[in-house]
Amino acid sequence: MNALLSVIDVHISYGKVEAVRGVSLDVAGNEIVTIIGANGAGKTTLLNAIMGVLPLRGRTAFAGTDMAPLDIEDRVATGLSLVPEHRELFGSMNVEDNLELGAFRIAKAVAATSLERVYALFPRLKERRKQLAGTLSGGEQQMLAMGRALMGAPKLLMLDEPSLGLAPIIVADIFRIVGELRSAGVSVLLVEQNAQAALQIADRAYVMELGEFVLSGSAKDIAANKGVAASYLGFQHEGDSAI
């Protein structure tokens, strides 16, 4: 079976500094894949480059099409969507307008059913639909950012640090919804510092260090890996680090 997203030998540089070196990854349909790693490992850079926000060298294909010639706007139309770290909401517009714009490339009739679905996933957003996005709490803003991305009916949703700065109870809620997305037929590529939570819901995982993938495998195996446990899960197995 063909991968939904395939990234082959990708390099990303900021000027002369190479932030991501020779990274390859793939995401299949109906799959949750997570990239874990410390701050500054290059995870956000990688997601941004896959979306087209940053230029990259290497090959990226989505749903069988080469993405090199496509701008961000066209990648969105092919069903790829990014919820960026800073959420990038339209702060002075209300919740419903934000969501409506999420369906900018989608036919009006389809958008109406998308809106129902997003409100069902995030009842909180429905309560606040006339409130300005900039006045929402951090958790609500994250929900809105995810909801806005889902309005475009993506095949693959890329989430950049969805739990950053949120209360644990909201984090649990957001991870539960990420799990629900899979059953709705949306694949997820999740970048997280909260490795424990990410590994619990993911099917597969990549571990990123200093711009390279040092380890990959099923989420269960990665979670059981001693080195990963020591570095990212906050507890020490006996013996030496494997990575």
Partner: protein, 346 residues
């Protein structure tokens, strides 16, 4: 002073203020969407007014040929920037917009021009010509540098103003022109006489403000333009083409500028460089509105118009000085009241 004079001055001020309001709104619109401070707005006024005036005398204005030339440059730029991924669809779209549209327009101008062409046709032609120039101006001068700072965009904007003003001298000559009035009807109310022309000014201004409000509040394209203004990256991430947003903003601004010009040219003689001063007064209103607030800009524009009318009565030599001095206390207040605005990077 007696009440009649005061009423006359008020009426005069409000008529001019309505024009400034239109221009100020266009400036706010363009700045919000593209971060360009549109200095060439005044040239849109002159081009609209003088193209209309020349068409009315049965001549083909040079602006129609300028539109064709700019279209060719825009087409070349489209091809150059898309050279790595040339799709047939993209090329066809670019040919249609940048070559077929201005050439067809030039053909239409040659076909229709004459001393007896109806006023409505001349107005439509003048508007289309200036709309094409506005659209191509964005494509040529601003789209390639859309990601740069406000300062760079401002300098490019000043450059465009100088270039367009120079071309204006070539097209229209140093002599001033006047155009035929839209309507010769007049209504008298007490001591005041409202000409059809000034009623058209009020009507169009109010109409435009309502139309812009509906457009931005209720249409998908309008909301997408606002979204581009609020968060450029966010807009791109939902699939809004920010270049298209910029083109729409410039299109609206050039049409608004041209309409303002067509409204004034029957009242005042316009020269190739008059537009700049008119545009600057719209700019003052836009600054008082903080370059963000549409209602505040409209109100400020009326105030600018009234101040101008009264100062030209009492101290006509200092008319411009007084009007432009209005901006000083506003700038002081705004810089004291507003926190330092960090420039958005993207």
């Amino acid at each position: 002073m007696n009440t009649t004079i005061m009423l006359f001055l008020l009426q005069d001020g409000i008529t001019n203020g309505a024009i400034y309001a239109l221009l100020g709104l266009a400036l706010v619109l363009v700045f919000a969407v593209t971060r360009v401070i549109l200095i060439p707005q005044g040239e849109f006024v002159t081009y609209g007014a003088l193209s209309y005036a020349m068409l009315a005398t049965g001549q083909v204005p040079g602006t129609a040929r300028l539109a064709v030339a700019m279209g060719l440059v825009a087409f070349a730029l489209d091809l150059f920037f898309a050279r790595k991924a040339l799709h047939a669809r993209l090329v066809i779209r670019s040919v249609a917009l940048n070559i077929v549209f201005p050439v067809a327009l030039l053909g239409l101008v040659y076909a229709l021009v004459g001393p007896h062409t109806p006023i409505a046709v001349n107005i439509a032609l003048a508007l289309l010509i200036v709309a094409a120039i506005g659209l191509f101006l964005y494509r040529i001068a601003f789209q390639p540098i859309a990601h740069t700072s406000v300062l760079v965009l401002l300098i490019a904007s000043v450059g465009c103003h100088l270039a367009l003003q120079g071309l204006g001298l070539v097209f229209f000559g140093a002599e001033g022109l006047r155009g035929p009035a839209l309507s010769s009807a007049a209504v008298t109310a007490g001591p005041l006489r409202f000409t059809g022309q000034s009623l058209a000014v009020y009507g169009l201004t109010v109409g435009f403000i309502v139309a812009l409000w509906l457009f931005f509040g209720y249409t998908k394209t309008g909301k997408a333009l606002r979204a581009t203004a609020v968060n450029r990256l966010g807009a791109r991430l939902v699939g809004i083409r920010t270049t298209l947003s910029g083109q729409i903003a410039f299109l609206l601004a050039s049409v608004i500028g041209a309409i303002s010009g067509i409204l004034i040219v029957p009242i005042t003689t316009l020269y190739y460089d008059t537009g700049f001063l008119i545009g600057l007064k719209g700019f003052i209103a836009a600054i008082i509105g903080g370059l963000v607030s549409y209602p505040l800009t409209a109100v400020a524009a009326i105030v600018v118009g009234i101040v101008e009318a009264f100062s030209s009565f009492y101290a006509s030599n200092f008319k411009e000085v007084i009007v432009f001095t209005l901006i000083l206390p506003v700038l002081v207040l705004r810089s004291l009241a507003a926190p330092q605005v960090e420039e958005e990077k993207d």
